[in-house]
């Protein structure tokens, strides 16, 4: 069991080191996420008060769209030069590989979320009323998205059509996360009178199920 976590840590560290070198998240994905916020601003043509009401939902849509990019990047790291074969040959348990890659995606999503919160504070005039709820629900939602995304990234890999297939596979499954995270943020940002902590429970359950399921299924998916 310790070996599983040690290997996962190795993989996560590798992915994050690659990100540190290539700066794909920083240079491409994060600007894209901010761009989505800006596009909403243009499209909705509303005043700040209205945008503030919608801010949580818009933020989480931006996170979901950006997560598609983050997951694609995570998966393509392995398939670009055939490193995924090396991972299969290494003898590491597939669940370790899953946990490591999901952890790396989670870290990147967490960074994105922070950035987007700053974004909606600046662009939509949101105010943070309950920072603890914000952080905890952000983490729970982040785990949910990262785990589910990594699972589906592996599922859609090795097919020529991964880029177009992943969204239609991943996004419907994340519907509960979108609803739950938005409601939790509604409460944390004072945008609506909702009990955000109740929604946190849903997010935590989703995150746990997604992580366990992903770890179990990953082996079957990359196997021959």
């Amino acid at each position: 069991m310790r070996e599983v976590f040690a290997d996962a840590l190795l993989i996560a560290a590798k992915d994050l080191r690659i990100e540190a070198r290539s700066r794909v998240l920083v240079n491409q994905v994060a600007p894209f996420a901010l761009l989505v916020l800006v596009l909403f601003g243009f499209a909705l043509d509303a005043d700040q008060r209205t945008l503030r009401t919608f801010a949580p939902g818009l933020l989480w849509v931006a996170v979901l769209l950006a997560s598609l990019l983050a997951v694609q990047r995570s998966t393509s790291l392995e398939h670009a030069d055939g490193a995924h074969t090396g991972l299969r040959l290494s003898g590491m348990a597939p669940s370790s590989v899953f946990l490591g890659k999901a952890a790396a995606v989670f870290v990147q999503l967490a960074v994105l979320e922070v950035l987007l919160v700053v974004g909606i504070v600046v662009l939509y005039g949101s105010t943070v009323e309950d920072p603890l709820l914000l952080v905890v629900s952000g983490l729970a939602a982040g785990v949910s998205v990262a785990a589910t995304g990594t699972l589906y990234g592996a599922l859609a890999s090795g097919l020529g059509v991964r880029e177009t297939l992943l969204p239609i596979l991943l996004l419907p499954v994340l519907a509960p996360v979108l609803i739950g995270a938005t409601r939790a943020f509604d409460d944390a940002l004072g945008a609506a009178a909702v009990d955000g902590w109740a929604w946190l429970g849903l997010l935590v359950v989703f995150g746990l199920v997604a992580t366990v399921l992903g770890a179990l299924a990953h082996g079957a998916l990359i196997e021959d």
Partner: protein, 272 residues
Amino acid sequence: MPGGDGPRGSVGDAVPRRQGRGEVSVHRYRDGVSVVELRGAVVLLGRFPALAGLDLSVDVGETVLLQGPNGAGKTTLLMLCAGLVRPADGEVRVLGHDLTVERREVRRRVALLRHGTGLYEDLTAAENIRFWARAAGLGESEATSRAASAVGLLGLDDRLLGRPVHALSAGQRRRTSLASLAVRRPDLWLLDEPHAGLDQVGRDAVDSLIRDAVSAGATVLVASHELERVRSLSPRVVTVAAGVVVRDSGRGGGTTRPACTPEAATGEAADA
């Protein structure tokens, strides 16, 4: 044609050994033990039979050159021996394991060089080698020392090691891939066109790796179009076409056997 000559045990008959990741196991073999034993192997890629009933038998310490036209199935054969594809039919044993059920155990003990580099472009050569050493289950110090010897073997100096892989030439990348494989100290080397696209330095490095592997007692299967080059290692030549073996020069083509016979490290007498 490969045939049995005399009683031959299979590796599986040897002492039950707990093969942890990263442990050296080559010297626990007995002489004349078959590393690869394929009879009527069929491998389907989708619906296409890449291997259509292939027979091959390879002993410990042999060097085998796989030749044949493109599309013959050489790459698939190497993938099969690596435990990466499932045989659809036939008797398939590699390193004593039945590949219809035990592919995972085989993978740790082989090293497969394929057309892609198998490296992470954005990391340096040194980081790649280190990652793959750790991934194979080696501890910190073991990984460091093996990495050092692999790097020396393949002539990668510090200047190259500190460069990200995308900034290396094809030959340098190939050598880095080989180094990251060499740290595994595999029992079976599977090389798919290792010389392709390399300059002189690179080719020499590949050759010295093969020689080093052979003298360490490993078994080497090389698929290559570079006949002259590989012939200097005096291998057995197996010609593959249309998913089967069509010609085999047979054993005993002057392969160097390890000077020390695989010893019974824990006391099992070799009774080949």
